[in-house]
């Protein structure tokens, strides 16, 4: 049992949530390293949240270089780590629901999300509403990869 717990978990297809935060590259590298030995499939998903006051299918994400760059940088990072990453760009009302639905549709057995560390106001992990939603609704394993606390990195 202890050896099973210490061994890295095996997955076949993982959906990786990409928020555009700098921590995302670290996240990709980590997942890529674990995916490589098992030739697991990686799907990077970036969700652009559309306000209820605007039409969901408005032409927003497709036009923005910055939004495309989030996925392209992730693709490049995975490629540098020796793994292919399929990139998916979504527009949705709720990021958590879109990620879970994409994971369901893709039959993913892992959903990876990053958790950023906010240095303001004494420093804290602001978990928000997306991660709790995913933890509650995802039909597969969920990894929450937190950003290193500055004291750790120093």
């Amino acid at each position: 049992m202890p050896s099973e717990l210490s061994a890295p978990p095996v997955f076949r297809r993982a959906v990786v949530a990409l928020s555009g935060h700098p921590n995302g590259q670290r996240l990709i590298r980590l997942v890529a390293e674990l995916a490589k030995p098992y030739k697991a499939e990686l799907i990077g998903v970036h969700v652009v949240e559309i306000d209820w006051s605007m039409p969901l299918d408005m032409d927003l994400a497709g036009r923005s270089d910055e939004i495309q760059q989030v996925l392209d940088v992730a693709e490049g990072t995975a490629e540098a780590a020796g793994v292919q990453l399929e990139s998916v760009l979504l527009q949705a009302r709720d990021v958590g629901a879109a990620l879970v639905d994409e994971a369901v549709e893709r039959e993913a057995d892992l959903l990876v999300v990053g958790l950023a560390y906010r240095t303001k106001f004494g420093g804290d992990f602001a978990i928000g509403k997306t991660i709790p939603y995913i933890l509650k609704n995802a039909p597969c394993a969920v990894w929450v990869v937190r950003e290193p606390i500055p004291e750790e990195t120093s």
Partner: protein, 687 residues
């Protein structure tokens, strides 16, 4: 880039999402706002012929490498020694022979001076190598003698050095390939009638190996080079231990040349032997030309490789000469057997496995001597192209990050020389070492000035060393030229200035075009306010013409069609159709009784220009040419001949832009709208 959007239903009714297509993703990657990097798919050819050619290239030279993979293509010191030093190290196989052949003219006793001469050459080698180690550190961008002379002396002398080196590299390929084949011929005489063919095949194989990139060619060429070095060191070691233990006895040289009577040893003869043996130094400068090919720290690695190469060459050269002298080996008729093979016979025993292996590796390394040129010539060509002295193509790197144009040019010229001289390049050998000593001398003088300018720590001794080297190499240059002038060195006097002249001509052309095209940095360009008009020469009324007229209407308000005909009746018929089918675009019918097309059209444009009000800026005239896209190669013969004539006649015309509007049968494109309206398929526009 506007992506398509596909709505998707979530698990809950409110959880709809839209997947946004990313059409750029297969071809480009965003690295910043408005900044993209092209992926491999963007470079893939779209046509069948292009794809087939790409497949052939991939099979022959490997998959294309991205620029970021360049670091992986850099050379380790071990591979660099094999790639850049095969020319220099291979000369240890024949340099001793060159010395004793000259000294033998003065009789058997003169052969005793062979060791002294070889030591003197080794001293020269040491000076040159130390000097070039300094060049590697001072000029890490490569370029060797050219870079040093251009910066410290003047650009013209830099070009002289470059021209001398280019000639020398071509000669190295031609001569070493031919001499390696000569080695094969001495074993298998039947090969002689195929000399040119074998040489061309060898050069082609070497070209392919080098087009595959530095790292792979290093892998291919490292084994034979190190095999030769290992066996040669073993041979020298055995020979020296035999001498020390007193086992070395005079050898009866087979096929020995008879000593000519009555010629005494003179200073001139010693200098001639020194000049002959100096061929050992050819190829020494190659490392300094290719510093950027090394793994970081480039300059340090290049300098260390230069040191290793000089030590290896010096040890092998002096070692072979000492052993040859101890066994009193004499020059042979037509160099059969060669001096080095006789030395190998004393060490390994004639006919032994090691002896045969050594002979094979000697033949191989003579082939590989050409490979040094394949690395040095294209790099020098690239540097010259970057400086505007050679066509720009020479600075472009091919699929495998090799300077493909330089590699192909070198092969073509070397193969041409071999074909021209029927594979017997002995007539060209006198040119061989002249270029090298021109470069040595210029680079040493340049380094003297360099040290005077920079005055780094220890600059005095460095300057002294380079000054000593400059004097030494200048003396050797004078000796080499005077000894070999009649034999062919005079050609250098013709070839170097010719090449320099060509390079200066190219530089002047680039300079002139750069001046013409340059834009001042302080200027800001607003949208131009010149009027536009479009003229569409038409051969009749067809879909391609209508498409061209539509394009013309989108770029100018003033559009007119011109129909040039020799038959007035055709004009009437076309006008009736034109006015009915293309309303709003005036048609000018020009009758051409002399059946010309280009002349009447340009004359018509002249008339339009002349009629333009002189107080207004001349308008931009778009000449819009309808063109039918050929789908098969033979269709290109059938169509667009008139368009080609018109285009070439109009290209130099002032204030005129020639626009080609291709019509593709499988892509109606711009024609579609008018077509539908005419056939009643499209509903009438809303009032």
């Amino acid at each position: 880039m506007i992506g398509g959007r596909r709505p998707l239903q979530g698990r809950k009714p409110a959880d709809r999402r839209v997947r946004v297509e990313r059409p750029h993703a297969p071809y480009f990657r965003y690295v910043g706002p408005g900044q993209m990097v092209a992926k491999a798919a963007a470079h893939e050819p779209k046509t069948t012929v292009g794809r087939s050619w790409a497949r052939i290239r991939k099979a022959a030279i490997g998959r294309p490498l991205a620029s970021e993979e360049e670091a992986g293509e850099r050379l380790t010191k071990k591979k660099a020694l094999a790639i850049f030093s095969s020319d220099a190290i291979s000369s240890s196989a024949y340099a001793t022979q060159e010395i004793i052949r000259v000294l033998a003219v003065a009789g058997a006793t003169a052969l005793a001076f062979s060791v002294g001469v070889s030591v003197a050459i080794a001293v020269l080698l040491a000076v040159v190598a130390v000097s070039y180690r300094q060049v590697c550190r001072a000029y890490p961008g490569g370029g060797g003698a050219y870079a040093v002379a251009r910066e410290n002396l003047n650009p013209l002398l830099g070009l002289v050095a470059a021209a001398a080196l280019l000639i020398d590299y071509v000669m190295t390929v031609a001569v070493s390939t031919a001499s390696a084949i000569a080695q094969i011929v001495s074993v298998e005489p039947d090969v002689e009638k195929w000399t040119v063919e074998v040489a061309v095949v060898v050069i082609t194989l070497m070209t392919i190996a080098n087009l595959r990139g530095l790292r792979e060619s290093g892998n291919i060429f490292a084994i034979p080079t190190y095999l030769f070095v290992g066996l040669a060191l073993l041979m020298v070691g055995i020979g020296l231990s035999s001498i020390l233990t007193g086992h070395a006895q005079p050898l009866a040289t087979p096929n020995a040349e008879a000593f000519p009577p009555g010629t005494g040893l003179s200073i001139f003869l010693l200098l001639k032997a020194f000049a002959g043996g100096s061929v050992a130094l050819t190829g020494v400068e190659a490392i300094a030309n290719g510093v950027p090919a090394f793994k970081p720290p480039e300059a340090k690695n290049a300098a260390n490789t230069m040191g290793a190469m000089a030590i290896l060459l010096g040890v092998l050269f002096i070692g072979v000469t000492i052993v040859a002298h101890a066994y009193q080996i004499q020059p042979t008729v037509n160099d059969v057997p060669t001096t080095v093979s006789l030395v190998a016979g004393t060490a390994f025993g004639s006919g032994s496995v090691l002896f045969v292996l050594f002979q094979a590796s000697t033949a191989l390394i003579l082939f590989l001597a050409a490979n040094t040129s394949y690395n040095a010539f294209p790099r020098l060509g690239a540097i010259l192209a970057q400086d505007g002295y050679m066509p720009r193509q020479f600075s472009y790197r091919g699929d495998r990050l090799a300077y493909s144009w330089g590699i192909v040019l070198l092969s073509a010229v070397a193969a041409f020389l071999i074909w021209l001289f029927g594979g017997k390049v002995t007539a060209l050998i006198p040119l061989y070492s002249v270029g090298v000593f021109v470069c040595f001398t210029l680079s040493q003088i340049g380094m003297v000035i360099h040290w005077r300018k920079v005055r780094d720590s220890g600059w005095q001794w460095r300057l002294g060393l380079n000054a000593f080297g400059a004097v030494l190499t200048a003396v050797v240059l004078v000796v080499v030229v005077s000894v070999k002038f009649v034999d062919g060195a005079y050609l250098v006097v013709i070839l170097i200035p010719t090449l320099v002249g060509i390079m200066l001509f190219i530089h002047r052309q680039y300079d002139a075009s750069r001046r013409e095209l340059s834009v001042r940095h302080d200027l800001v360009f607003e949208t131009p306010h010149r009027e536009e008009r479009a003229v569409v020469p038409i051969p009749g009324v067809n879909r391609a013409v209508i498409q061209a007229v539509n394009v013309a209407r989108s770029v100018a308000d003033d559009v007119r069609a011109v129909f040039i005909t020799e038959n007035p009746a055709d004009g009437v018929e076309i006008r009736e159709r034109w006015e009915r089918q293309v309303p709003g675009v005036p048609l000018v019918v020009v009758e051409s009784p002399y059946r010309a097309l280009t002349g009447p059209l340009t004359a018509y444009l002249d008339v339009l220009d002349a009629a333009w009000p002189p107080d207004k800026d001349a308008p931009i005239t778009f000449v819009v040419l309808p063109e039918y896209v050929a789908r098969r190669w033979w269709e290109r013969i059938l169509y667009n001949q008139s368009v080609k004539r018109l285009r070439s006649a109009l290209l130099g015309r002032p204030h005129t832009v020639v626009v080609n509007v291709p019509y593709r049968r499988d892509d109606p494109g711009l024609f579609e709208q008018g077509d539908r309206r005419a056939s009643g398929q499209e509903p009438p526009p809303n009032p």
